[in-house]
Assembly symmetry: C2
Homo-oligomer: 146 residues x 2
């Protein structure tokens, strides 16, 4: 991302690619070096600063892993459209009440029944460093956005 | 996996979970520590020894990454069934002609038009160390198989 215009185009393109995929697989590195992934429902579109946000419980093992190693990958798969997106990024735990209010949506009550009053509720911010995608339109050639 | 019976049950259960999902996202660690993923069509069911195999080109960047760090994750997503599977494992490049002949299937010609005569064709063996899954039947509670 070298210019504001290019950055805006990249964010727009990535936003379109994932617009119909709510849930991604977040991969993190455990302290023994092994890689784990788990489904995460995204709480935001791609933000203007090139970040993507998720609600999380601050006491979960993935948060422990992220404190150990901030490098993560989040992949989005739309099987019926044969579209696969890889987002590499740097993860950070953020406890910002105002940002939580901005990003909260009622669907999240399935995971956080008490809403923003849930104990240990927090945000995971992933600052995107690289995005690749594959789809049937590009005949599964790798396309790098950023 | 502590007993043969338990191991067989785990392999059977994992096989059923991914039986209708041909393509997973393989996450590897690059030399700068960043995590990348890309779609990979699986070339085998789960083998009796707890491994899963993929055909690959031996000169691709992911093979370079795996030589650097063997820890990988492969995730399978079935969006319509709301099923998410995380497989942690140790990856290894294998150039075994007999195993390639055993695992070859015509659908792979989309990636390897010359079949087993393709230059640099090889196998990626992932020895599974841990499997977790989430689905709507388990109300998205994490289930660990191995």
């Amino acid at each position: 991302m070298t210019t504001t215009t290019e950055e805006n185009q990249n964010i727009y393109q990535l936003g379109r690619l994932i617009q119909d995929i709510d849930c991604g697989m977040l991969t993190t590195i455990d302290e023994d070096g092994s890689l784990h992934s788990r489904p995460m429902e995204r709480s935001s579109d791609i933000q203007a600063d090139g970040s993507i946000w998720f609600f999380t419980n601050a006491t979960t093992h993935k948060v422990f892993e992220i404190k150990n190693s901030q490098q993560v990958n989040i992949s989005f798969t739309s099987g019926d459209k044969q579209r696969y997106i890889s987002i590499s990024g740097i993860a950070e735990l953020v406890k910002d009440r105002q940002k939580m209010q901005e990003l909260w949506k009622p669907e999240l009550e399935a995971w956080f029944p008490q809403g923003l009053d849930e104990p240990n509720i927090a945000l995971l911010k992933i600052q995107i460093t690289r995005t690749d995608y594959w789809d049937n339109q590009s005949q599964f050639q790798q396309q790098t956005i950023t």
